[in-house]
Symmetry: C2
Subunit: 196 residues, 2 copies
DNA sequence: ACGGTTGTTGGATGCGGTCCAACAATACGC
DNA sequence: GCGTATTGTTGGACCGCATCCAACAACCGT
């Protein structure tokens, strides 16, 4: 909305840098592509790269990270069980195929399986912590909350993975996510009340 | 069993290095302790450190990693549902409080919360993948398998965390793990049959 | 004494990431 | 037009983790 009112205009953008990175990932593989390589192809300095992305792996995960930021906000606001579910469903609504989808679809070609597993684990942990904290605030046993959080987080990551590998443009994410969350929710049944 | 039949004897051990590391973690914090620092205090060269541990974080996680190795072996052998459960329960049997327990108990003092969350996420992902693969081999839907695997993995990590934070020496891990797995198992109920 | 084996060590190398000071390009008030 | 504040860009220094390697050291059996 509010463009910069003064100052030097940006010389590049997340999009062009991400595009350059994905090209290189496909050509040489994720691990064999350095940030210097990416910056060079994007026509920007290595220093500037870090003004656009906080890390190399953030190229892949920035979109989802933003969604998780939203999730944390929403989940922090409402601690009711349906509220948590809504927040999780909202994460999937209108999630556009981006860099992550491309990487998941061409994981072998990019030799990025390791990074995708690792990054997915980190994001799952973020989601799990958020959900678990909300459940604990609602009076649930910490152990129960952690397990339920892990299940929900797994549902989110698994549905995104399945969605993207099936061709992210042709299938809708929401139903997949709803199915996965419903299954994960079984780990919460009977845990609806505060700790005994 | 079979000690080295020839060659130079080891000048140190995982134990002394881990002990030196934990001292430093408590004094300066995890992030502010370099592997060079650890090697120096342990009376060994930096190069040799990597002959004992594959990475700095492995000091904390080596024990659990070995357990997960076992888990993968067991789970690879039997693909039945009870077999998977047995393998998961076996992971907790006789798990001795080690470096990880110490780190979890003194997480604040070591300022190691970040590393513990991160490392836990990575290990959870390993467990989840293993369980999910077994369930898929048993004919389950990939999405279902992933969610169930994540729930089980979360149960393992959560119970270890709860166990250690409660004072690992005074409480038994097995019951906690059994409870957590039972709850996680609810995410598998109704998914016992192959994909519809 | 000697060769084979296993460990140790230092150094070189590469990469990710942080930090900073110098510089460049814009908008705005005058 | 001219300073000035603001925002971005750049190169370089710096640090830590991790890998690799060649040289060296300590043990074994023969």
């Amino acid at each position: 909305m509010t463009g910069p009112l003064g100052g030097r205009p940006r010389a590049s953008s997340r999009e062009v840098i991400a595009e350059a990175a994905c090209e290189l990932f496909l050509e040489r593989g994720y691990a064999d592509t350095s940030v210097a390589d990416i910056a060079a192809r994007a026509g920007v300095s290595r220093s500037s790269f870090f003004n656009y992305f906080t890390s190399k792996s953030a190229i892949l995960w920035a979109d989802l990270d933003a969604r998780i930021d939203d999730l944390e906000d929403r989940i922090g606001a409402s601690t009711t069980l349906p509220g948590i579910d809504d927040a999780l469903q909202a994460l999937g609504r209108g999630f556009a195929p981006g860099t992550l989808a491309l990487a998941l679809a061409h994981a072998e070609a990019m030799r990025a399986e390791e990074e995708l597993v690792h990054g997915g684990a980190v994001r799952a942990a973020r989601i799990a912590r958020s959900v678990s904290a909300a459940l604990r605030r609602a009076g649930h046993d910490p152990l129960v909350a952690d397990v339920a959080g892990a299940a929900d987080a797994g549902a989110v990551i698994a549905s995104i993975t399945a969605w993207t590998r099936a061709g992210a443009g042709r299938i809708r994410l929401e139903p997949l996510l709803a199915r996965a969350l419903a299954q994960a929710g079984r780990a919460r049944i009977g845990a609806a009340g505060p700790a005994a």
